[in-house]
Amino acid sequence: MRTPILKVGDVTKTFGGLVALDKVRLDIQERLITMLIGPNGSGKTTLINVVTGFYKPDNGRVFFRGIDITGKPPHEVYRLGLVRTFQIPLPFQRLTVLENLLAAYRGNPGESILKAPLKMAWREAEEEAVDKAFEIMEHLKLTHLWNSRAYALSGGQMKLLEIGRALMSGATMIMMDEPIAGINPALAHEIFEHMQNLRDKIGVTFLVIEHRLEIALKYTDYVYALANGKLVAEGRPEAVMADSRVIESYLGEAM
């Protein structure tokens, strides 16, 4: 087995008396789409919050690309290339699709107030950013919308734009919280196809929380199932779905 890009080692997180995560262990392989499933309250979002630095775990360690990121603040985790998207998309409403992507570009010297009026100081970075933005729009089939304001996009397009911004900022791994919640089936399939595409062509790693398994599972390489804060199963999608503990966690125990 290759070394995992993200390693979660026996992470425990409690809120008062509630054990939200109980010694959870994940090994996320690079260039795969891994899914995190489990009924509501099983600890999925808490796990993402712990990994991206929004929560500090009580116990256990998190490694990204071999670097210990346990308890690091979100912006530092972000700088390493591990980016999350939110359940509700947060685009820059009055900016165009292109501008949304350009705004996410990292380290443009033109964002400095002193250099901004001197075009020469940021021209090169800006050109690179535009090329990259068009490449990303091409991948996400957003090119025809390059000059549309974000508020005019549909919910699904906004989710794609969020993925685009994460890529633009140089993410190598994207953690997505319910990317297809509230999205019609056709576009939901499309969003997962885009993710496959990005995985194959650019080598992006995805960790996805999703409830709509009927759509998501066929795009998934590997599944972790959580129930009551514990890891109950892992493996190929078909194997995990056949696992009695997973079925029990969703439907309740057999009489």
């Binding site: 292109l98 949304n100 010297p109 901004a116 800006e126 535009v130």
Partner: protein
């Protein structure tokens, strides 16, 4: 005959143009803070007043101390002495203007930095209320504490930097040309600044600060810079007004001024500097045309106080714009960088290929 008439209306024209420049500078700087960065700085007039107090206080005190052997800055005699000093010494007259401009910019920026402290911690409405009151507190202190600008009486004897040319109208004309040039320079600078990745950064902070933060943007820094820069530019407007009016009066800097300036920004188009030029022009013209002085000029006698008509018209204009064209006359445009040009070329090339 015609020349005589032209000569007679010169002060009216220079006043119109100078006040337009002052308002334009205020509106452009408010547009940077509110239109681009989304900070509802409804206390903008305060930062203009900071420039005004610096110009008046610094000029009067230093002139008195260095050249006139001290004396109370508020006395008519010293005001007269300062005028005479500037009449006789072009270098002193212009030097104090330049010094005031430089110090005004610094002090205005400093107060902008202080005001960015609540701007980082409060949300829209609360922040707007806080900033209005910061401005009002400043005005109330200035009108009651004589050492700032002679309180209610006002500080006079701040000489026009071109007073030494002799003809008062000529000095007004030269001053006006300079004011217009300063406003133009500020426009060009802000245009370049906002059509850059920095302008895009401000807009992204305005549109969604959580998203901007999650993309590694320093929200505090972006807001802080917008406040510092916008406030120091507003201070320039204060300095310009003082040296034209040749005095500082605390009660000129009431909250209404901020809202007149805000109406220019809303009318012209938020986050669009060209729109602000138009909005400032329209409101300044309205201010000029619906005024007793203009009606006296065209020989019409009016039996009531026309000033209130002006407020009513301004109110109707704002409500109409907000109802039917909330984006303003010239709406916001994407940040015009080299990137946008490349993007257009890319798209054109692709269309040609297919």
């Amino acid at each position: 005959m015609v020349l005589d008439q032209l000569y007679a209306i010169t002060p009216l024209v220079t006043t119109l143009l100078t006040f337009y420049s002052v308002y334009l500078i205020l509106a452009l700087s408010l547009n940077l803070i509110y239109g681009y960065c989304g900070v509802p700085n409804f206390g903008h007039v305060f930062f203009q007043s900071v420039g005004a107090y610096v110009a008046g206080n610094l000029t009067a005190n230093v002139m008195n101390f260095m050249f006139l052997g001290g004396g109370n800055i508020c006395e008519i005699a010293t005001a007269e002495a300062r005028r005479n000093l500037a009449l006789a010494n072009p270098a002193i007259a212009m030097g104090f203007f330049i010094l005031s401009l430089a110090v005004g910019i610094l002090v205005g920026g400093f107060f902008g930095y202080i005001a960015s402290y609540p701007a980082l911690r409060l949300k829209e409405d609360y922040l707007a209320i806080t900033l209005i009151f910061i401005g009002e507190i400043g005005r109330i202190i200035a009108r009651n504490e004589a050492s700032i600008a002679c309180g209610l009486v006002g500080l006079t004897g701040i000489p026009n930097p071109f007073i030494w040319v002799g003809d008062p109208n000529l000095s007004l004309i030269i001053y006006t040309i300079m004011a217009v040039i300063i406003a133009a320079i500020i426009f060009v600078y802000l245009q370049r600044l906002s059509n850059s990745p920095f302008g895009r950064l401000l807009k992204s902070v305005r549109d969604d600060e959580i998203a901007a933060a999650s993309l590694g943007k320093d929200i505090a820094k972006a807001r802080g810079w917008a406040m510092i820069l916008g406030s120091s530019i507003a201070a320039v407007a204060g300095v310009l007004k003082v040296f034209y009016a040749q005095g500082v009066f605390a009660d000129d800097y009431i909250p209404l001024t901020t809202f007149v300036v805000l109406s220019m920004v809303i009318l012209g188009g938020m986050a669009n500097n060209r729109g602000v030029i138009l909005g400032a022009l329209l409101i300044t013209l309205l201010d000029f045309l619906v005024a007793p002085s203009f009606f006296r000029l065209i020989g019409v006698e009016i039996q009531f106080d026309i000033t209130y008509i002006k407020y009513i018209i301004t109110g109707i204009v704002i409500i109409t714009v907000l109802l039917f064209r909330p984006q303003g006359i010239i709406p916001e445009k994407p940040v015009e960088t080299i990137g946008l040009k490349i993007a257009r070329q890319n798209i054109k090339r692709e269309k040609n290929e297919t």
